[in-house]
């Protein structure tokens, strides 16, 4: 185990800003991409359904 306490863990030996700034931005990017992906998928389905309803009219 590397850490004596949670405070020590978050402080990262004085490099907290840099370590958490890196890991945090990566998390943000991944979550953002997954969100966009889901939106793209839903929009595609909706568009296809709309086109289909026009077809059948």
């Amino acid at each position: 185990m590397n850490w004596e306490s949670w405070e020590a863990f978050w402080a990262m030996g004085g490099y907290g800003l840099y370590v958490w700034g890196s890991f945090g931005m990566t998390l943000l990017c991944v979550v953002g991409e997954l969100w966009l992906l889901r939106r793209h998928r839903l929009q595609t389905w909706q568009r296809l359904k709309r086109l289909k309803s026009w077809d059948s009219q």
Binding site: M1, N2, W3, F9, M12, G13, G14, Y15, L17, Y18, V19, G21, S22, F23, M25, T26, C29, V30, E33, L34, L36, L37, H40, R41, T44, W45, R47, L48, K49, L51, K52
Partner: protein, 244 residues
């Protein structure tokens, strides 16, 4: 198994759908294991203290940024040569993920450079060529988005992909060709890695997690693109029928 069988969008679509949960699950498990090693197993570095832990994101992201570009250029070349629909879809599906990893590599590089070099950014050969890679990804996506006709859009993007691939070896060898600030690689194929084994393992597991993530995400995106493009076909109509 006949690979050509799965080169058709109508057979690839359900196959990708079955594969995605597996890649996603692997990505999750590997990320959990990789993060555990990154923070709780790997020891403090004797020179950089805890600051070095950025390596577990930075190096895998930088590897992915280059690798995804090469794969994208590969599919572009196949698409241009044989005019296969699925190749262009794959090339297009990879671009946003590649751009994301390039951005992460640049960002974490800045957050590592500041405490260790004293600067967020320098116009070093490695950093500059990686920035160009980011512009290439964004350029390909912008070019494809700007052309309405999907066939012309595919071809224009594929051409830019192929021209841009020259940048990848430049990035890779930049630390050898130009003796600037960015350090050389700690891991390569010809000699033993110049780092502790557990650090190396952490990095490799994180890289594998990034691979699995990239595959899962690209497959999801490819499926949406396929639906859009094949909407006039019977199988997509049947799929819509089944869904509603």
């Amino acid at each position: 198994m006949n690979l050509y069988y799965y080169a058709s969008p109508s057979t690839f679509y359900p196959l990708a759908g079955r594969l995605i949960p597996w890649f996603a699950a692997l990505a999750l498990v590997l990320t959990a294991a990789g993060l555990y090693i990154s923070f709780f197993v790997a020891p403090t570095d004797f020179q950089q203290g805890e600051g070095y832990r950025i390596i577990f994101i930075h190096v895998p992201a930088a590897w992915m940024s280059m690798f995804i570009y090469v794969v994208m250029a590969f599919w572009s070349a196949i698409g241009l040569a044989w005019n296969t629909r699925l190749s262009f879809v794959m090339a297009r599906a990879l671009a946003p993920t590649g751009a994301m990893f390039t951005f992460v590599a640049l960002w974490t590089g800045a957050f590592w450079g500041k405490p260790m070099w004293g600067a967020w950014w320098v116009w070093d050969a490695r950093l500059t060529s990686e920035l160009i890679l980011f512009f290439l990804y964004v350029g390909v996506m912008a070019l494809q988005a700007a052309i309405d006709d999907p066939r012309r859009s595919d071809r224009a993007g594929a051409l830019l992909n192929l021209v841009g691939v020259i940048n990848v070896p430049i990035i890779y060898f930049s630390v050898k060709w130009w003796n600037t600030l960015h350090q050389g690689s700690s891991v390569n194929l010809t000699r033993a890695p110049s780092m502790a084994h557990i650090m190396l393992w952490g990095m490799l597991i994180m890289a594998l997690a990034a691979w699995m993530y990239a595959i899962a995400v690209a497959l999801v995106r490819a499926r949406s693109l396929i639906l859009e493009r094949e909407r006039q076909t019977d199988w997509v109509r049947a799929l819509l029928e089944a869904k509603s």
